[in-house]
Symmetry: C2
Subunit: 341 residues, 2 copies
């Protein structure tokens, strides 16, 4: 297992992951999980289940985080992430990440953190106002630790997350300059070229907190119902009316999942011209979604029967990840000359 991973060491190293605050959904699948499955064969991939980060704004609800670590790991295995190729680990099981964060916090000023656009946005979204938990405030620094601990040079992100990569890059540069070293690796953003999947309500992106998502673990009935309730063109009241395709989430989902592009083009033309009802389009969407999601759900159910296996995967992955992070921390403390023994 370890050998296979090491063979890829000379190649790119990817760090990606999720906050375990809920099951993963179609947005994750289209935007990230499918790509991770593809990339795990070519690159050295680390996937972090970021429980520590999730706790920064869920400190009062750690059971939710605990429970969702398993759910997220199940999602990973169900979509085809292979623990023989990819290291799946839990953030809090790698104490070295806290230590690196401690030292990186000296590389960043408070005003720099205050200017971080992603943090600003999320503070707004979460309604923190001036009562941001300090842990949440410094999470870009903690993310820099996650990335650099594994010497990841590629980090898949959406464009809203670009400032996080910039922050990590700044920390790397400051650290390497101050300690006259090249021990830390500058990460680069790996921007997805898949358009972001909108929520089932047509508003922004699919989001756990807005409840406008289809989970990878949703059963057939739930999927059918969610598609039925999906937002379409609000002015497309009758089948014979012309409808709008742009910004219509049903077509966005078909773009993401329907492999029969020719017939999809024809449906779009007919919809725009008038003469194609939402029900027909939604039925097609149900069909392609179930074709994609049924096998995933079945695999998920299989894995869920043996949670001790899941725990074993997480434990082994975390041990492997810790070995790598520990080596980086030693190097960091070495160049800082705080390696006293």
């Amino acid at each position: 297992m370890r050998n296979k991973k090491n063979e890829k060491v000379e190649k790119h190293i990817i760090l990606t992951g999720d906050r375990p605050t809920g099951c993963l959904h179609l947005g994750h699948y289209v935007g990230s999980l499918r790509e991770r499955v593809r990339l795990q064969k070519e690159l050295r991939e680390f996937i972090i289940i970021a429980d520590t980060q999730a706790l920064t704004d869920n400190a009062e609800n750690p059971e939710k985080i605990r429970k969702n670590i398993i759910e997220v790991a199940l999602d990973y295995l169900a979509v085809g992430i292979d623990p023989k190729l990819t290291t799946i680990f839990v953030q809090s099981l790698i104490p070295e990440l806290s230590e690196l964060t401690t030292y990186y916090l000296n590389m960043v000023t408070v005003s720099r953190l205050q200017r971080n656009p992603t943090v600003k946005d999320e503070i707004k979204q979460r309604g923190f106002g001036s009562s941001i938990p300090a842990g949440f405030f410094i999470y870009p620094v903690s993310q820099a630790a996650d990335i650099t601990a594994f010497k990841a040079d590629l980090v898949p992100v959406g464009d809203d997350q670009l400032p996080m990569i910039e922050q990590a890059t700044e920390i790397v540069r400051t650290f390497n300059r101050i300690y006259n070293t090249s021990v830390l690796v500058e990460p680069k953003a790996l921007l997805s070229n898949t358009p972001r999947l909108p929520g089932t309500d047509g508003r922004g992106k699919m989001s756990k907190s807005l409840g406008n998502f289809i989970s990878l673990s949703d059963d057939e009935k739930t999927i059918i119902n969610k598609v039925k309730m999906m937002y379409t063109d609000p002015n497309h009241l009758h089948a014979e009316d012309p409808g709008i395709v742009e910004g219509n989430p049903v077509f966005a989902y078909l773009d993401a999942f329907d492999s029969d592009k020719d017939s999809l083009e024809k449906m779009k033309e007919q919809y725009q011209r008038g003469g194609l009802g939402d029900v027909v389009v939604k039925n097609r969407l149900v069909e392609v979604l179930l074709a994609e999601l049924n096998p995933i759900r079945k695999k998920r159910e299989e894995f869920a029967k043996d949670l001790s296996y899941i725990m074993k995967i997480i434990k082994q992955g975390s041990e492997d990840a810790r070995e790598v992070a520990s080596k980086t921390l030693s190097e960091v403390k070495g160049v800082m000359k705080i390696d006293y023994f």
Copy 2:
């Protein structure tokens, strides 16, 4: 060694220590070290050499910190801190402190940290303005980790440090409330009743950065010179002039070190009346200082001959401290329910 320490477990637990940014001086000795030597027989004492904290505003100069860890440890042993009774440890050797800090950061808001008067003062003193390193900004949280990791219920502080204890207490209360536990112990400030030793220049306290101090490691000649140069009453130009005793650092030092209180009282009276020259008073101060400091310096020189012994003390102390901190961290993760394995 460990047994002796454990016998005191039921008694009070003290956490105290120093930032290794320079040799310790008379101010430390009078305000803190003498008391530590006295208390080590009665209480369970942990002394932290706070290298991680020192790095928050010395990140570009880690060699200074590294060097001064040894100097500070030499000072401890020279004044009579006994590693058989007291656990001397280095902060960065206890990764559990970083982990605890990570979780405590979720218990504190950014605005609460911004209101901390001690932090405000120190930011001013250090001229950080808006470019405070984030590590420095959050150091009250890191101090809460230092204190609580050892379940210290007493923390010796000057009154300028009271807000730090308040912050730690708040974190303990919030943590214990959120996780419905009593795992963390509320610390209490142990205020010194020794008046603070002024600087040799009569300005404020003795401070490494102001250069107005007498080190425990200063040689005789240096001590004599520093006393000669000491600020006294600026209007006491001739021996026959009446002089002022209050706020006169020479008399403050005599108060702290001269055990012959009767003759000291007489000197004060004569000084105030007129007829006692500064030279006479300073000669007496040299006499009592050398009587106190010569044995300390000699012990220090002895210890300095065997630095491997010092390293052994630090290493063993840090291992002992880590055992305690690790137990606390396990309990903390247990009540947070993030003890996955």
